[in-house]
Symmetry: C2
Subunit: 419 residues, 2 copies
Amino acid sequence: MVSSACLLQASRAAIRLQLRKQQPYTDTLQKTINRWVTQRCYSIQTSPEFINSLPPLNAADLSILKTTTPKGLHPPEELKFGHTFTDHMLSIEWTSTSGWLAPRITPYQNLSLDPATCVFHYGFECFEGMKAYRAVDGSVRLFRPDKNMARFNNSAQRIALPTFDGQQLIELIKKLVRLDERFIPNARGFSLYLRPTLIGTQRTLGVGPPGSALLYVICSPVGPYYPTGFKAVCLEATTAFVRAWPGGAGDKKIGANYTPCIVPQVDAASRGFHQNLWVFGEDEHPTEAGTMNFFVVLKDKSGQMELATPPLDGTILPGVTRDSVLHLARTRLQGWKVSERYTPLAELAEAAEDGRLVEAFGAGTAAVVSPIRRINWHGKDIFCGLKAGEEAGETALKMQQWIMGIQYGDEPHEWSVKI
Amino acid sequence: MVSSACLLQASRAAIRLQLRKQQPYTDTLQKTINRWVTQRCYSIQTSPEFINSLPPLNAADLSILKTTTPKGLHPPEELKFGHTFTDHMLSIEWTSTSGWLAPRITPYQNLSLDPATCVFHYGFECFEGMKAYRAVDGSVRLFRPDKNMARFNNSAQRIALPTFDGQQLIELIKKLVRLDERFIPNARGFSLYLRPTLIGTQRTLGVGPPGSALLYVICSPVGPYYPTGFKAVCLEATTAFVRAWPGGAGDKKIGANYTPCIVPQVDAASRGFHQNLWVFGEDEHPTEAGTMNFFVVLKDKSGQMELATPPLDGTILPGVTRDSVLHLARTRLQGWKVSERYTPLAELAEAAEDGRLVEAFGAGTAAVVSPIRRINWHGKDIFCGLKAGEEAGETALKMQQWIMGIQYGDEPHEWSVKI
C-alpha cells in the first residue's frame, strides 16, 4: 500500500521535476505550482533539495539483457503496420521519490501491472511515432528525433507525467535500434517504426499526478504505406463530432485524443470514405485529416501559388512531417506563399469551382504525404485538383521525394541522424 | 501475430455486436455501419449469422478460484480511497470472434499485457464507480446498479469497445461482493468501492476498433468522504482549460476525460482551492465541479426556490447521484422549481449579491454531496450562501440524509438492491 503521504510527495515531486526540466506553461503557473508543492504538504515536507537531487534520465546507466531466442524475420512483403515486433525493448521506470531509474534493454516481453494502475483508468499515456531507415550507404538513420523528443515531453507534461532529457532518450533509442537493426528490410519505403510510450503506473484509484511511470520503446518493422504507388483518398468532413477544442489537449500525442475518434472514423468509412476530415468552428475549417495534418495548395485569382495548413492553435498536432513540409516549402518553392492559416471549406469549395484548388494532402510519419482526391462536405463533393486517373499532385510528389531523399540518405541533411 | 483479415473481422464483429445489443447513435449511423460491416470486407466475409451467434455475457458460466492467502483487514480508520483491494477480482475476456468468454473470479492479481496493447497507446478504457453498503439490517446492498450498467455500456460504445447485458454483470458483481463482503466495515459512511473497468487488449498499433477486450471488476474498502462531518470547499472557475465540448465525449466515463484535467486541478490547488469549477461557453456557465456534477439552489425575486444543474447536453457526465438528487428534489421538495438549465457565473454572482444564491454543491458517488463555500471567478469571490462556520446548507444536508438513508437501508426503496 502506498501511503497518502507518499502519494502527496509523489505528486509534488513529479510536478517539480517537470518544471525543473521543461519550460512551464507560464511563469505564473510555475510559481503557483511551486507554492502548492512547498506549502500544501499535509504530512510530509518535500524539500526542494530532495527533489532537485532526483536522478535524471541517464543513458550511461543502460544495462542490456539480450534475448536467447531471436525471432525469425517475416518476408518484407508480408509486413503489416504495428503487427510484429523486434527481439528487444527499452524500459525506464520513474518514481517521484527516486527519479529516473537505470534504463534497461531486455527481450520484448509483457508488462505485468496491477489492475488498479492509473493507465487503465484515467488515460495516463502518451506516445511518439518515429522511424529508423536503412540509408543508401547502408547506415541506419533517424529523422529529426529531437522534434519527437520535444513533443513527447510536451505531451507528458500536459498530463502530469514526468519529463526527461530528450537527448539521453535518443542515445538509448539508437542503442536499441542498433541491437535490432537486422529487422529493417534493406529496401526503399521500408523502415523500423519506433513507438516510445510513457504510461502512469501508480497503483491507486485517486485522480491525481501519478507517483510512478514507465517509459518504454518497442520497434515494429513496416513496409511502405503505398506499396504500389500513391492512391489518393476520399475524405468526409465530420461535423457531428469534434476532435479537439481550444483549452483542451488536442495538440498533444496522448491516448485521450485517439479513442473518441474511432467511431467517427468508422462512421465515415461506412459511407465508403477512406478517412474523415476533422473540421472546427462556425467557418468549418479543416483541422486534421484522420490522424494526419492537412495541407492545401491554392492559386489565387492573380495566379499566386499558396501552400496552406492550419496554424498550431492548440487543436492541431504539431507534426514532424508538417514542420518538414512547411520548412521545405519555404526554402524550395520559389515565389510561393506558405501560410499557416485556416482554409474554411466554403473557401475550398469556391476555389475548386474556379479551378484554383490545385491540391490537398495529408502529412504524417506513416505515409509522409497522402494525396486527397475529394472531400465530401454536407453531401457535396469538393474535388481537390487531381485529374481522372491521377493519384498525386506535383507538390505532394515533390514533398515525398524531398523528405524520403533525406530520410534514406540520398541527400546529406542535418535532419537525418545516423544511429 | 493477428492477421489483417482477423483484424477487419474483429472490428466489424465488435461494431455489430454493439449495435445488436445497444441502441445506436442514430438509425442512419446504424444502417451505414451495418453496410460497412457487411460490404467492406476485404479478405474475410463476416457473415451476420456468425456475428449474431457470438456468445453474450453469461453470468451462469462463472468459475470461481478462491484465494489461498486471504488478506488481513485494515483498521477502518486507516482506509484511504482506492489504496487497498479485496482478495478477489472478476475478469471477463471478449474477442470479436468468440464474443464474451466465461467470467472468472480469481485471486486479485496483476494483468500481463503485451506492450503494444491498445489500452497503453490510444486510451481504450472506460470504467464505472459504484459502491456496496452494509445496511442497518446487516444485508449488503448496491445503489442503482442498473444506472451504472447503462452508462458503462454507453461509454464502451462511444469508444468502440464491446457492450454487454448489464443485468448479467450485476449478477456477477453481486457474487464478487458476496465473496469479499468481510472487507466492508460495519459502520455508517463506510462502503466497498467497486471499479468495473473495460480495456481494449488488441496487440497491434493500428488505430481502429479493438478485436479483443477485458472487462474486470476490483473492490476497495473505503471510509466516509467527510470523516468528521461536512467541510465546505472553495472552487476556482477554470477558464483557460476546457474539460468537454459539443461533439466530444465529455459525457462518457472514459480515461480520455480524466488525464487532461489533472494539470488544471493542480493549477487551481496551487492557489489554495480544493478543486476547480469547469465552465463552458461565452456565458461561462459551470458544467462540473472537479469530477462531480454541479448544483445550485436559487431564490428568485418573488421568493420561488429553485434547484438547478446543467442539462445533459453532451458535456456533462450523467451522474447517478445527479439523477438521484433531481428525482428526490422533484418528489420531495414541495413547491420548488427543479431545473436542468445553465446558470452562468454572472447570474450566480448577481444572485449572490442579492442574497438569492442559497446554496451550491457538488454531487457524486464518492461524497454524495459536497457543499461549496465560494467560487473564485476571474479573481472575484462568489459566496454560495453558507454562513461563517457553517459547512453545509439545508438542501445538501437533506439530500445526503435521503440518499444515505436509501443506501444504508433505513428507508426501503427500489434504488437499493440487496446482493
